[in-house]
Each structure stands twice: as C-alpha cells, then as structure tokens.
C-alpha cells in the first residue's frame, strides 16, 4: 500500500475535475450539436458564417473552454481506462506524458484555429 499522503491526492482531484468537466460538456456539447446541425446545417457552413459566430467574444470563449474541457475529459478518461487495465511504473509515466503532450498540442492548435476563425490574426 502506498504510504505517501498529500493533502490533496491526485486521484481525487482528477476524479472531481472529470465530473466538473462532464457537467460542463453535457450542456455545451448539446448546444454545439443543436447549433451546427439544427439551427445551422453543417452542410451550409461557410467561413463567413463561422467568423460571424466566432467574432462574438462570449461564443469564442465558450468554444475555447469547450475544447479545453473536452480535451481534458477525453484524455483523462483514456488515461484512467489504461490505468484501470493495470498500467504501472514507467509505462504509466510515458502514457501520461504522451497524453499530456497530445492534449496541449490539441488545445494549442484548437485555439489557433479559433483565433483564425474569429479573424483576429
């Protein structure tokens, strides 16, 4: 049994964050689907239309937060799934590093895309 105690264990923080992002994602993902498939049809998406939406700072921030929450929730979920299969030691550290890098890259790329869409470049 691990004897290292901290005032805020990693497992607990991860668990809580996974739930908080889940609650946020439920709302925003439902909105996102509705917005881009029912209000506007995906087939009719144009750059100008996207830009009109993205120029709104509130929408822009929501989408960026959506991306960050989604990336965290998804990659943390993948990490948990692998740990539950009994991933340990070096392998576990490598997986964590790879997933973290992938997440950071995804978020960075996504924000760049969002800025380009908003026309702020």
């Amino acid at each position: 049994m691990a004897e290292q105690y901290s005032s805020f264990s990693r497992g607990g923080t991860g668990w809580l964050l996974q739930r908080i992002t889940a609650a946020f994602l439920i709302v925003v993902l439902a909105f996102h689907f509705f917005q881009l498939h029912f209000v506007n049809h995906a087939a009719d998406v144009t750059f100008a239309g996207t830009q009109a939406r993205m120029e709104n700072v509130g929408y822009f921030l929501t989408m960026v937060l959506f991306l960050i929450a989604g990336a965290f929730h998804g990659l943390n979920g993948v990490y948990n799934a692998l740990v539950n299969q009994g991933l340990e030691g070096t392998q576990k550290k490598v997986v964590l590093a790879v997933l973290s890098l992938a997440g950071i890259a995804l978020i960075a790329q996504g924000i760049w895309v969002a800025v380009a869409m908003a026309g702020w470049t």
């Binding site: 739930r19 889940a22 609650a23 994602l25 439920i26 993902l29 439902a30 689907f33 498939h37 029912f38 049809h41 995906a42 087939a43 009719d44 998406v45 144009t46 750059f47 100008a48 996207t50 830009q51 991306l67 989604g70 990336a71 998804g74 990659l75 979920g77 993948v78 799934a81 992938a102 995804l106 790329q109 996504g110 760049w112 895309v113 380009a116 869409m117 026309g119 470049t121």
Partner: protein, 142 residues
C-alpha cells in the same frame, strides 16, 4: 499447495451474455468515450483549414471558394460522412445520457434504479438518433 492455477480473466467477452446492466453501461461508456476523443482530434484537424482560409484571399471567402468552406461543404456532400455524423450523434447522445446517469450515481441519487436508467439512456439515444436522421440526411443522396 505446491502450485495453483491462474484462470486469468474469466469474465472476458466470451461470457458477454452474463454481463449485467452496469457492466454494459461501463463498456459502452468507455467505447463511446474513445470514439469521441478520437473524433475531437479529427474535428480540430478538419477545422484547421480555417487557418489557411483566414490567411488566404478575402475575396475567396466572399465567394465561398476558400479552403475552409470548400473542405467542409465537400465533406458534407458525401453520403458516408452524413451516415458517420448520425453515428457520432448516437455516440455523443449515449455518452451524455449515460454520463448524466453516472453523475447521479456519483451524487448517490437513485442507485437502486441504476440498471433502469441505463436502459432508459439506451432507448432515449435510439429515439433521439432516429428523430434526427431527416435533419442530418437533408440534401444528400448516395
């Protein structure tokens, strides 16, 4: 007791008929989760054409011939993409509904109905998906 026998993972997929509702919910949630994170990467990759479009000719954007607009509309004109989108919707809706169920379980609400809420999320996913097919398939033919 010189030796013992390790039977390994007994409850593998060979015994799927014996799985309970909670186990199925877990398997489906995980499976849909993998697909959604996979999709998120693809999604950002496709949307990355916006960087090219923004840097390109503003006139192209006006005429809707920029790389972003043409890529998305090109993809959307494919029947297979529309089918995949319906699949994505089903996957996302199930993940959302079962996620709600899991949040309730985490809050300790309605634990005795956890199996029923799993079946309910399956049924609701089916209904929402089927109801969305006309909208998703609008204006595309094989």
């Amino acid at each position: 007791m010189s030796q013992s026998y390790n039977r390994g993972l007994i409850e593998d997929f060979g015994r799927w008929k014996e799985f309970s509702a909670g186990m199925w919910a877990w398997i489906f949630h995980k499976f849909t989760g993998w697909m959604l994170i996979g999709y998120l990467f693809t999604h950002i990759a496709v949307l990355s054409t916006a960087i090219g479009a923004a840097a390109g000719d503003p006139a192209a954007i006006q005429q809707e011939t920029d790389v972003y607009t043409t890529t998305i509309q090109g993809l959307e004109s494919l029947f297979i993409i529309r089918v995949l989108e319906v699949g994505l919707l089903a996957v996302a809706v199930f993940h959302i509904l079962n996620g709600l169920r899991l949040l309730m379980v985490d809050l300790g609400i309605g634990l005795s109905a956890q199996d029923k809420s799993f079946y309910a999320s399956l049924v609701l996913t089916g209904i929402i998906t089927i109801a969305s097919v006309p909208t998703f398939m609008d204006g595309v033919t094989i």
